[in-house]
């Protein structure tokens, strides 16, 4: 039931959640693509990347800190202290995964987070009204649901990147395996 419920419920409740302005902007189409490019260019111009390490900082890192708990909701611990430690580890793992991607892809990921770090773009594309530090889970989940089946390919692919990066990093960690009944790889004498 849990799994089938998600889509239908969010579709029914979304229009009642006071997000009309967001939906209006999302309907504006090409602007979103423009903003994604501009956000990335701005981020890259103001954040010089060290030659050997993709790293998120400031508002971009805060965006990931706000988005990851929505994607991992149901897998993260309820205890606040444990939850924070788990999130920290997952976000470090996301950054490590990004550093394993080719340079061109790293720049695309940086474009995405650069966009999310820009206040007007955040408001218009995600509908998250406050800064990422104080974004609530419901707002974040709502924009992810929209991006997931958005009519623009670019937004769907941005959702796909967040989905794969965060869930991939989470389930790569042995600490996540007990909850899903995976015993880990067998022992082979080597």
């Amino acid at each position: 039931m849990a799994y089938t419920g998600g889509m239908a419920n969010s579709r029914n409740t979304r229009n009642k959640s006071g997000s009309t302005s967001r939906r209006t902007f999302l309907a504006a189409g090409g602007l979103a693509a423009l903003a994604l490019g501009a956000g990335g260019a701005w981020y890259r111009a103001t954040h010089r990347q060290t030659p050997h390490g993709f790293a998120l900082d400031g508002e971009a890192r805060a965006a990931l800190h706000a988005i990851a708990p929505a994607i991992l909701d149901g897998a993260l611990a309820h205890d606040p202290g444990r939850r924070q430690r788990q999130l920290g580890a997952a976000i470090d793992a996301v950054e490590a995964a990004i550093r394993g991607l080719p340079q061109a892809t790293q720049e695309e990921v940086q474009d995405l987070f650069g966009l999310l770090a820009l206040r007007p773009a955040r408001r218009l594309l995600t509908g998250v009204p406050t800064g990422w530090e104080s974004a609530d889970l419901a707002h974040v989940s709502a924009f992810l649901q929209e991006w997931r089946v958005h009519r623009l390919k670019l937004m769907r692919s941005a959702y796909g990147a967040l989905h794969d990066l965060v869930l991939g990093a989470w389930y790569a960690q042995p600490a996540s395996w007990e909850a899903i009944g995976y015993p880990g790889p067998p022992r082979v004498p080597a």
Partner: protein, 539 residues
């Protein structure tokens, strides 16, 4: 203490193999050989063994690292960044298809799931009739298949399938759909289920433990962590291959450069990378087909949950297939598809599973009961299946632009229906196609109704590929083929292409054995041509 598993790479290095890890270079280097081979996968390694045994000096250059059984720890977090192109997250230009390709010594053969098929007869017939490839017949190719099967230890897999594969066999049987066992290139397989992360016991007879060691024992030089940037051309000839050394991270260039000079160059970087190298080199393209007609076997996925534990991570990952839906219609009719199963490991399963938050977590809690099924769509045989085109990004790296069109979506929808029906017939409690709008269906009747109505769109339907093919099509007709039937690049006198990029269409079966057999034939012709003597055979 248990006996240690013998490591043929470690042993070879002790014997004095010539290898250069380019990430350790402190100066630029220039090397020379009779033949320089780009890529150490199925095509490159087979070519290296034949050319080296035939007495030619050979350099093999590989972008990935040299890893061996003791490095293969069966952990996705290590294996994907280490052994796959783009950390196993390579994607088409619009990100709608995730492409798995190896990037390590042995190429994709180091990480494939061991499925060993001879090229299906209808595909060979099509190549002969439509692409001017006279050699594309069973009679002509049988000895090459036999040689490749001997070399890579292809056997009938007599161990019972794991539950994930038994489901495909059982469900198909209930519905009167034919299925059969997949032959595998293994010797003394432990049936662990981690083929995709590098075989930890060296049972898989990949290029890493067969032809690469043979080439090195015959004097070849292996250069790893070096990216082939461009062939320097003069007139109709390639003079040298310029490579950039990668840093220890294997991602960014270190600044060191290698120049490799040779009489002849064999490009075997796999589909996508091979055409990209030729495009960067501004190679002549008289047919206008370089990089075009790149095929993927676009693959759709159906998950199902069973009462009984499936434990899809354990046991030979791919041991049962059904080609029923390839043979039902003419090859150039509605898109056909091959049914197989994937291994089920946490990272890959979690990223393939649609949705997020509690709904995703709930599905993952049923991980041990999850069975996966794949449908590989056979592309390239219909006017509306032109494949994709490789192009260069602004930084010179290659990427594939592949449009998912209505013809393909029709096949995807039928494939999702077939898989759901088989999964319910095999006893699934619920079935969920990998699709953003799909739900967990509770009966075949519900699934049939709902799947038929699902919108099929890029990103909304999850599409993956483990078989990149084409882009340097081989053809007897010079207007249609980048490469001639001898594997020679048209427009360059001393360049050959020996990998899956040669295929003029997809195959309708997993490609490793086809690449082995065809490149063994081409490399033997090349060796004879360069030495004036008959070529040596593979071991």
């Amino acid at each position: 203490m248990t006996a240690r598993i013998p490591d043929p790479i470690e042993a070879g290095l002790k014997r004095g193999w010539r290898t250069i890890d380019a990430s350790t270079l402190e100066h630029d280097r220039t090397l020379e050989a009779d033949v320089v081979i780009v890529g150490s996968g199925a095509g490159g390694a087979i070519s290296a063994e034949i050319l080296a045994r035939s007495g030619l000096s050979v350099i093999v250059v590989e972008e990935g690292p040299l890893k061996s059984s003791r490095d293969f720890q069966m952990r996705e977090a290590e294996a994907y960044p280490q052994l796959y192109q783009e950390s196993a997250a390579r994607k088409t230009a619009d990100k709608a298809i995730n492409i798995l390709q190896g990037r390590a010594v042995g190429g994709s053969t180091t990480v494939n799931w061991t499925s060993s098929f001879r090229t299906p007869q209808p595909t060979l017939d099509w190549w002969r009739d439509h692409h001017g490839l006279a050699f594309a017949s069973n009679d002509e190719l049988a000895p090459w298949f036999a040689m490749a099967e001997r070399r890579t230890g292809v056997v009938d897999w007599l161990v019972g399938p794991n539950e994930n594969n038994a489901i495909l066999r059982r469900g198909a049987e209930k519905l009167g759909i034919s299925s059969a066992a997949i032959r595998r290139n293994v010797q003394g397989c432990w049936n662990l289920g981690y083929c995709g992360m590098g075989c930890p016991t060296n049972a898989k007879q990949s290029m890493l433990v067969t032809s690469i060691p043979a080439a090195l024992d015959n004097g070849a030089t292996l250069i790893t962590r070096a990216r082939a940037e461009r062939l320097r051309l003069r007139g109709q000839k390639a003079e040298e291959l310029v490579c950039s050394a990668l840093g220890a991270d294997g991602v960014l260039p270190s600044g060191r450069e290698l120049r490799l000079r040779a009489r002849h160059f064999v490009v075997a970087g796999g589909a996508i990378n091979t055409p990209a190298l030729l495009l960067r080199s501004q190679a002549p393209d008289p047919s206008g087909q370089l990089g075009k007609r790149t095929f993927l076997h676009p693959t759709v996925i159906s998950a199902a949950f069973y009462e009984k534990r499936v434990e899809g991570w354990a046991g030979a990952p791919q041991s049962v297939y059904s080609d029923h839906f390839l043979s039902r219609d003419p090859i150039d009719g509605p898109m056909g598809y091959m049914l197989e199963t994937p291994p089920v490991h946490p990272l890959m399963a979690a990223t393939m599973m649609s949705g997020f938050g509690e709904q995703h977590a709930a599905a993952m809690r049923d991980f041990a009961h999850l069975g996966g099924m794949l449908a590989l769509l056979r592309d390239g045989f219909h006017d509306e299946s032109p494949g994709g085109a490789v192009r260069l990004r602004s930084d010179g790296s290659g990427e594939l632009d592949y449009e998912l069109n209505d013809y393909l979506w029709d096949g995807a929808r039928r494939a999702l229906l077939s898989m759901a029906e088989i999964q319910f017939a095999a006893g699934a409690r619920t079935v969920q196609p990998a699709h953003e709008k799909a739900q967990r269906y509770r009966s075949w009747a519900e699934a049939r109704r709902e799947i038929a109505a699902l919108p099929q769109r890029a990103h909304v339907t999850r599409v993956v590929s483990a078989h990149a093919m084409g882009g340097c099509a081989m053809s007897g007709d010079e207007r249609r083929g980048v490469v001639d039937p001898a594997g020679r690049y048209r427009g360059l006198a001393n360049v050959s292409v020996h990998d899956g990029s040669l295929f003029p269409t997809s195959l309708g079966a997993n490609p490793q054995l086809t690449i082995y057999a065809i490149t063994a034939r081409l490399a033997s012709g090349l060796a004879a041509n360069l030495t004036g003597r008959p070529a040596a055979a593979l071991a």
